[in-house]
């Protein structure tokens, strides 16, 4: 019996054995439909607008997707994002070095993520419940830290432009384009984590931890460590999203990021990540958040009553998930 590689099968592209194709098709399908029915949808102005609108959330989605593949949920990402935004804002407006401000914001939110992880793996409480609790607790800490006061500035500090300024390099190429650095961050971080997920030893163990934790343990994988790492990454990325939010809008308030957790989970699911864990892709998550953002833009441009937003988005999320599942099962 020969052991030459079987005809036609590659060892798998970096996009992975993970399901990118279904969410990609779903996204393209939605985009085409929107372009046909919504006036001016296919323009660079509209496209860059909904992409920009999705980019900061996309950074959070990266972490949430990774964590869901490992089999866990984090409902506290919105609170962690607010925390990151506040710490960055307070320090940088207080005259501290911007590097220190960013570092501290990221360290604190990473520790919050770490705490989520430790609580989940050391108690028998499901992460859904643990982070439902920390969602409120972290938000309360933000409240205390800020005194309930929002932070807003008109200062044009250079760090804001460095972190999340307009991407004029690209904007100058296309008329009406309005891309920001956040998009670049989302793409770079997304691609790096996708490659890590599908091509590293860590990634292999993440899939196993989410897909069949008992089997992973039997093979000597430290699933607790894997989960804690994923929770910490999620915290780090949520903090980064907070920093970028303040850099762009020069505003952060106690309610910043509220509801982000559900958007993130929905985006991950639309992108092909299964709620049961073990299956999914980061790139899919990015497509998911882009799709939801495109849909929101479409609804606005069509002039539909704003009450319909969430309903339409909700229906699409369900439809997209069903579609992904159909395509996945057929392959």
């Amino acid at each position: 019996m020969s052991v030459t590689a079987s005809a036609g099968k590659r060892t798998g592209s970096w996009l992975g054995d993970s399901p990118i194709l279904p969410p990609f098709l779903t996204f393209m399908g939605t985009f085409i439909v929107l372009s046909l029915f919504v006036p001016n949808f296919g323009t660079m102005r509209t496209v860059s607008s909904f992409i920009s609108g999705a980019s900061i959330n996309a950074i959070v989605v990266i972490g949430v997707t990774l964590l869901m593949i490992a089999g866990e949920f984090d409902l506290s990402v919105g609170s962690m994002m607010a925390m990151g935004g506040y710490i960055f804002a307070m320090l940088v407006l207080g005259g501290q070095s911007p590097v220190l401000a960013v570092l501290l914001a990221l360290i604190v939110t990473s520790l919050l993520g770490l705490l989520n992880g430790i609580l989940t793996v050391t108690t028998r409480i499901p992460s859904f419940i643990v982070t439902l609790g920390t969602r409120s607790i972290y938000r309360a800490v933000v409240w205390i830290l800020s005194g309930g006061v929002m932070i807003q500035t008109t200062e044009k500090l250079p760090v804001f432009d460095t972190l999340n300024g307009r991407l004029d390099l690209i904007n100058n190429l296309f008329a009406g384009a309005n891309f920001r650095m956040a998009t670049l961050w989302a793409l770079v971080l997304g691609i790096i984590l996708q490659i890590a997920l599908t091509r590293s030893q860590f990634g292999n163990r993440v899939f196993a931890t989410g897909g069949n934790p008992g089997a992973a343990v039997a093979q000597g994988v430290d699933i607790k460590q894997i989960k804690v790492i994923c929770f910490t990454i999620t915290g780090l990325l949520a903090g980064w999203a907070g920093v970028l939010t303040f850099s762009q809008f020069k505003t952060v308030f106690v309610a910043t990021g509220t509801g982000l957790e559900l958007t993130a989970i929905a985006s991950a699911v639309v992108g092909g990540t299964m709620l049961t864990g073990g299956v999914g892709s980061i790139i899919g998550g990015l497509l998911g958040v882009a799709l939801v953002s495109a849909l929101r833009s479409g609804v606005i441009l069509l002039g539909l009553p704003s009450d319909n937003f969430e309903a339409i988005v909700g229906v699409t999320i369900v439809a997209a998930s069903i579609l992904n599942e159909r395509i996945r099962l057929r392959s």
Partner: protein
């Protein structure tokens, strides 16, 4: 691998194992041994104590008293990691492989071949693809591609891959826990064949089951446990199917 002096001594000797949980005595001074390159059937009804015995052997809990001698050395097996390091591995039906991952990724799970580029260990995908097919082929399991998802395989094929993996990684004692109970006749046949292949490679196997027919096709010896005690150990050929069943259920006491 097995030198002349060691060849006749059993691979595993569990001596006078007692296990109590509070007031309940799960095992009452059980002696159990497995020889080298031998398939030992471990038989007993539910609650007889065979899972407790195996859990002690695989480090899930320590015995209340008694000792374990593995490969000539007295050992304390304090965790499943220590059991694995000794070369003891269990294949449970649902906990052997991750269905959503490919055969190759499953084969090397926990022992991934890596190339360190920078600070990150990157998977050697080519090695995984080639070595998985080669190692499985060595014991007679032919797969189309190491990239096929395990979920697409039949129950028997999955069990076989788990066995093949254990053989490849040099497991000394393979514990099969009810390997054929959810399988069809044809699938069970495959698993039994690969069990014999593993034995031919020098592994010892503990085959735990309720299915006396299946185990009679592969076992060299049978140990029957009832109510936390070893009822007896018999060689193949020494005992009939009916007698074995009676011993398990207690219709006969020897």
């Amino acid at each position: 691998m097995v030198n002349g002096a060691q060849k006749d001594t059993p691979l595993v000797i569990m001596e006078k194992i007692v296990k109590t949980f509070g007031r309940v005595t799960a095992l009452d001074g059980v002696d159990f041994e497995v020889g080298r390159a031998e398939v030992m059937a471990l038989l007993g009804d539910n609650g007889a104590g065979k899972s407790t015995l195996i859990k002690i052997l695989t480090g899930i809990y320590p015995p209340t008293s008694g000792r374990i001698i593995f490969d000539g050395q007295e050992v304390q097996i304090r965790s499943s990691r220590e059991a694995r390091e000794l070369g003891i591995e269990t294949v449970y039906q649902d906990l052997a492989l991750v269905n959503t991952m490919s055969i190759g990724r499953n084969f090397f799970l926990g022992r991934e071949p890596v190339r360190a580029i920078g600070p990150v260990p990157w998977l050697d995908m080519q090695y995984i693809a080639d070595q998985t097919r080669r190692s499985l082929a060595d014991i007679g399991i032919n797969i189309r591609s190491a990239n096929d998802k395990v979920g697409k395989l039949s129950g028997g094929e999955r069990q076989s891959i788990a066995i093949g993996r254990a053989v490849h990684f040099g497991v000394k004692l393979l514990i099969l826990d009810e390997p054929t109970s959810a399988l069809s006749v044809a699938e069970s046949r495959k698993v039994l064949d690969y069990t014999l292949n593993a034995k031919e490679r020098g592994l010892s196997v503990i085959f735990i089951t309720h299915n006396v027919h299946h185990v009679m096709a592969v076992a060299d010896r049978y140990t029957v446990i009832r109510h936390g005690r070893r009822v007896g150990t018999y060689k193949q050929g020494e005992i009939s199917y009916d007698d074995l069943s009676d011993l398990i259920t207690g219709e006969r006491e020897y």
